[in-house]
Amino acid sequence: MTVPEIQQKVIAIVAQKFSVDAVKINGETRLAEDLGVDSFGAVELMFELEEAFNLKIEDSEIARVRTVNDIVAYLVSWLDKQNPPTT
């Protein structure tokens, strides 16, 4: 999965979860400030991401996430660790 694909998938999940039109969300969108996501919402979102990407996100990571791209960066690094580049 490419980085833009991961970003699109994250945006789709965020949009659905918080009832926001996906076109209004981009990488710089801030979860709390722009979408009004509270701490409960952040945990619920992490559950959905864990299912969608089949991984485990640590609580300490949840606290660090502020924007959509923070999530994407975390997912990319996690996926890289699972499948190290072969070239």
């Binding site: 918080f18 009832s19 009004g36 701490s39 409960f40 945990v43 619920e44 559950f47």
Partner: protein, 411 residues
């Protein structure tokens, strides 16, 4: 002690035979049943397959999608009813008066739907996956808190849980708080969304539900010889109560007046009422005394469609009113919508207010062959125009929690 007068200035309702006061009220006067085969879940493996399930209720007509997704169905009913009642009352909120506005609700069961869903999901996916919103979503007081958050009501905020009497208790306690001057306005009522598989199976296990699966609209038949239990329902009844001068000063619509309230316990059994109905008689007498009345023009009975209740309530009404009991019309809202547990008493308070407004008594439907031991005037089949000044509403909860409320014509 100088007690202040308390009036009803707004109503909201969601029930199996109608959402919104006018639709619901018309259905009641027409004797229309809201009981049907349930599809909230697949009832195939249950002995009982019918319920007073509400169809066509869209939470998004009353709240944003964001809120709707985060609260349980019982709170949907509360937020919807609150909006209806506040719209009707034209209550104007200011930063100065919100501290004098309370929210007191009743719910017997709280957020059963999410509770069940989360337990199933947690056992399947592991205890680290329990949704963090579980506690605030399942707690019965979510309904009062969510209403306060939405409208900024900063007065007393609580939920009373006394099974089938919850809604009536809430109205009574709201009435007292205004009467005694603690607050001027209170949004009150009862809500319930009990149609979950576990909860339904638990009521089935008690053998208290009607198994008349082939004829759902005839299943709830209080005082009829052929009744075989109650029908579970869901919904909400919401009232805006207001101190009378406060309502008059702002030109609010005054729909009825709350004039009497009493509650007690039968201290007898967790499920079975005292067969003599002595506790039910006592609570009616106390409510009459509270209102300074010796008789009423109509009784909206608890009337669940179980033998135990029908006998005890009929005996109690006779004990209270003597020979006059035979001249007081008594009817059952539950004959049309089933028993919506913590919402029932509040939905019936909406019925009482509408009856006073229109001077007409809604019927008890399905009363074809009266049980010989039930020989009062139960207003069978057809609504009856009648001179109504004072009406009494009974609610008796599992655990012998009894409440009587008295509503009077607006003067």
């Amino acid at each position: 002690m100088n007690r202040r007068r308390v009036v009803v200035t707004g109503l909201g309702v969601a029930a199996a035979n109608g959402v919104g006061v006018e639709t619901f009220w018309r259905a009641n006067l027409e004797g229309r049943s809201g009981i049907s085969r349930l599809d909230a879940f697949n009832p195939d493996e249950f002995a009982v397959k019918i319920a007073g399930q509400i169809r066509g209720f869209d939470p998004l007509a009353y709240m944003t999608e964001d809120v709707a997704k985060r609260v349980d169905r019982f709170v949907h009913f509360g937020l919807a009813g609150a909006q209806m009642a506040l719209t009707q009352s034209r209550l104007n909120l200011t930063p100065e008066n919100v501290e004098r506005v309370g929210v007191i609700f009743g719910s017997g069961l709280g957020g059963q739907l999410f509770h069940e869903e989360q337990i199933l999901s947690t056992f399947e996916r592991g205890f680290m996956r329990t949704n963090p919103i579980s506690v605030p979503r399942v707690s019965p007081n979510a309904v009062a808190s969510q209403i306060a958050i939405r409208y900024g009501f900063k007065g007393p905020n609580m939920v009373i849980s006394t099974a089938c009497a919850s809604g009536a208790h809430a109205i009574g306690e709201a009435f007292r708080k205004i009467q005694y001057g603690e607050i001027d306005v209170c949004l009150t009522g009862g809500v319930e969304a009990p149609l979950t598989r576990f909860n339904f199976s638990a009521y089935c296990a008690m053998r208290v539900l009607s198994k008349n699966n082939d004829n759902p609209t005839a299943a709830s038949r209080p005082f009829d010889r052929d009744r075989d239990g109650f029908v579970m329902g869901e919904g909400g009844g919401i009232l805006l109560l207001e101190e009378r001068d406060h309502a008059l000063a702002r030109g609010a619509p005054i729909l009825s007046e709350v004039t009497g309230y009493a509650c007690n316990s039968g201290a007898h059994h967790m499920v079975i009422p005292d067969p003599d109905g002595a506790d039910a008689a006592r609570v009616m007498v106390a409510a009459l005394a509270d209102a300074g009345l010796s008789r009423v023009d109509y009784i909206n009975a608890h009337a669940t469609s179980t033998k135990a209740n029908d006998y005890a309530e009929t005996k109690a009404i006779k004990a209270v009113f003597g020979a006059a009991a035979y001249r007081i019309p008594v009817s059952s809202t539950k004959s049309m919508i089933g028993h919506s547990i913590g919402a029932a008493g509040a939905i019936e308070a909406v019925v009482c207010t509408q009856a006073l407004r229109d001077q007409i008594i809604p019927p008890t439907i399905n009363l074809d062959q009266p049980d010989p031991e039930c020989d009062l005037d139960y207003v069978p089949g057809k609504a009856r125009p009648s001179r109504l000044q004072h009406v009494l509403s009974n609610s008796f909860g599992f655990g012998n929690c009894n409440v009587s409320l008295i509503f009077s014509q607006a003067t």
